[in-house]
């Protein structure tokens, strides 16, 4: 017995099995493509939400405005109290004069808006507080509100919070869908191989009777399943890339509102994950379903 040729035979037999059982093979393939496409799209959505949250995090500042009658020692007290709050990374004083200068620069194209402001500056002294993590912004905001002479706290915590909530929801939906679609794909592959084994049960019986090893027969069915799942995962990968790049990314870029995460940044990880998932589903599904036909 030539083991290498036996393996080659089992693999080619697995390939033939796909066409023996074409309808079920196509159903399994389509199901896996659909499942991975949904999962892939959700992963890209999560990555984009993460990117937005990080972007918000870059400007993760809280502005506090102090009352007009605050004296210099009181300002120093506010600065040191703010700096002592946990999660505060920095605290920078912005005088009302420098705030006006910044505004002048930002609104240089609209000088009429600023007319008369130099004589009667409406801005107040403020502090720019930088927080270490967007998730801690709300707690810092509360702590800052309690400092004497602080009149107003202007934070982005609400925006961050809504993004974090969205991310959590999408994460939860993604994980739920991944598990659900994974289980469905697994059972469909299992049934495909079970039907394939059933239609070829006489062949399997004869193979067993002439002395073919169980491992060689298993290899044939594992090959059949893995070809289906691998083809499904590669198709899903390219479809996800195509849909993302040509549809979603272009649409978002055209709005000019957001900068989307390039697909290429995560291409390898996604391909590896798709291939790994397809291998696990293919191998486990076929092994579970073939055993009962090997008892001869």
């Amino acid at each position: 017995m030539n083991r290498a040729k036996c393996i080659a035979y089992s693999i080619s037999d697995g390939w033939r099995g796909i066409f023996h059982n074409l309808m079920m093979s196509l159903i399994s393939y389509s199901m896996l493509v659909g499942s991975l496409l949904v999962v892939g799209s959700l992963v890209m959505l999560v990555l984009n939400i993460d990117s937005i949250i990080e972007g918000v995090g870059d400007r993760n500042e809280i502005l506090i405005y102090v009352s007009e009658d605050a004296t210099d020692p009181e300002l120093e007290t506010v600065a040191s109290a703010a700096a002592r709050i946990t999660h505060v990374e920095s605290c920078v004083f912005v005088s009302r004069e420098s705030a006006l200068e910044s505004m002048k620069e930002e609104l240089s194209d609209y000088p009429s808006i600023l007319e008369g402001m130099e004589e009667d500056n409406p801005l107040r002294d403020s502090f720019r507080i930088r927080v270490d993590d967007p998730e801690n912004a709300e707690a810092v905001e509360k702590a800052l509100s309690g400092i004497p002479k602080v009149e107003k706290v202007q934070a982005r915590a609400d925006v961050i919070e809504s993004f974090l909530k969205t991310r959590s929801a999408v994460n939860l939906i993604s994980i739920g869908l991944m598990v659900l679609l994974g289980v469905i794909s697994f059972f469909i592959i299992m049934n495909t191989i079970r039907i394939s084994a059933y239609t070829r049960r006489e062949e399997i019986g004869i193979m067993r009777m002439v002395g073919a090893e169980k491992s060689m027969i298993r290899l044939s069915f594992v090959t059949e399943a893995v070809i289906i799942t691998l083809a499904g995962s590669l198709t899903a990968y390219f479809l996800t890339m195509l849909l993302y790049n040509e549809l979603l990314a272009k649409t978002l870029e055209n709005t000019g509102l957001l900068s989307v995460v390039p697909f290429a940044d995560n291409a390898f990880a996604m391909l590896a994950a798709f291939v790994a998932v397809s291998l696990v589903i293919g191998i486990a599904g076929s092994l579970f379903s073939i055993n009962r036909y090997l008892r001869v």
């Binding site: 040729k5 062949e203 019986g205 004869i206 009777m209 002439v210 002395g211 001869v296």
Partner: protein, 246 residues
């Protein structure tokens, strides 16, 4: 030839099959074999006969490794079947050729492909397969039907293809489980004649049959199984006795 002659002749060669006080009790407490002793030597042709449920099929299952003896010692082609690990069963089966009553041909394959299939699963070279398949198909008298599918063949021809498949890997022992059960008397005779021809070429052949006409027509050794016991062991045509317990 008498049983004693057979035993005397057999003493000089190693047994192909050796049952020593073999017992089989199924999980439902049904005792299928009850301390059977049997020796089949190289080059022998043996009929196993007996009524339905007597234990004939159990003996075949023991020989092919589908079943293990509950007690006793069983040797097949040098393998200790009572101690054989599951992983070694394929190696044993590669020394056997098995023929079934219902032919068990794959309907989507031609006669040639059905026979070649038994070689292909072991990764045999294409040229070796072509050569060997042509030889065995010629041996069973079906050279002209190589491209026919099972549905295009008569029952006798299908059984010949099954015999060719059993022969193709050159086994030292052919086991035929009721090979004439689905055939008319003339085809049955032809099939046993073919198995006898294969036996004359040196292969040990064991055939299970209910057909007493066949037992009378062929001067081969017959063992009779009754309620799990070996109740008879003789050559019918020479003794002129009816089949059944001695």
């Amino acid at each position: 030839m008498t049983r004693n002659d057979l035993e005397a002749g057999a003493a000089s060669s190693a047994p192909v099959i050796l049952f020593q006080n073999v017992e089989v009790t199924y999980s439902n407490d049904v005792r299928a074999l009850n301390g059977v002793d049997l020796r089949v030597d190289e080059g022998e042709f043996l009929f196993i006969s007996g009524e339905s449920g007597a234990g004939k099929s159990t003996m075949i299952k023991l020989i092919t490794g589908e079943l293990k003896p509950t007690a006793g010692t069983l040797l097949v082609n040098g393998y200790r079947m009572d101690k054989l690990r599951a992983g070694k069963i394929p190696a044993l089966r590669r020394t056997l050729g098995v023929v079934y009553q219902d032919f068990r041909l794959i309907k989507t394959m031609t006669a040639e492909e059905n026979v070649a299939f038994a070689m292909r699963v072991f990764g045999a070279r294409k040229s070796a397969i072509r050569e060997r398949v042509a030889y065995v198909m010629d041996l069973v008298g079906l050279s002209g039907k190589m491209k026919s599918r099972p549905t295009e063949l008569s029952g006798g021809e299908q059984q010949r293809v099954a015999i060719a498949r059993a022969l193709v890997n050159n086994p030292s022992l052919i086991i035929a489980d009721e090979p004439t059960g689905n055939l008319d008397p003339i085809r049955s005779y032809e099939i046993v004649e073919l198995l006898s021809k294969i036996n004359r070429l040196g292969t040990t052949v064991v055939v299970i049959t209910h057909d007493y006409e066949l037992l009378r027509k062929f001067a081969h050794r017959v063992i009779y199984i009754e309620k799990g016991n070996l109740a008879g062991d003789r050559v019918l045509r020479e003794t002129g006795k009816e089949p059944g317990p001695v």
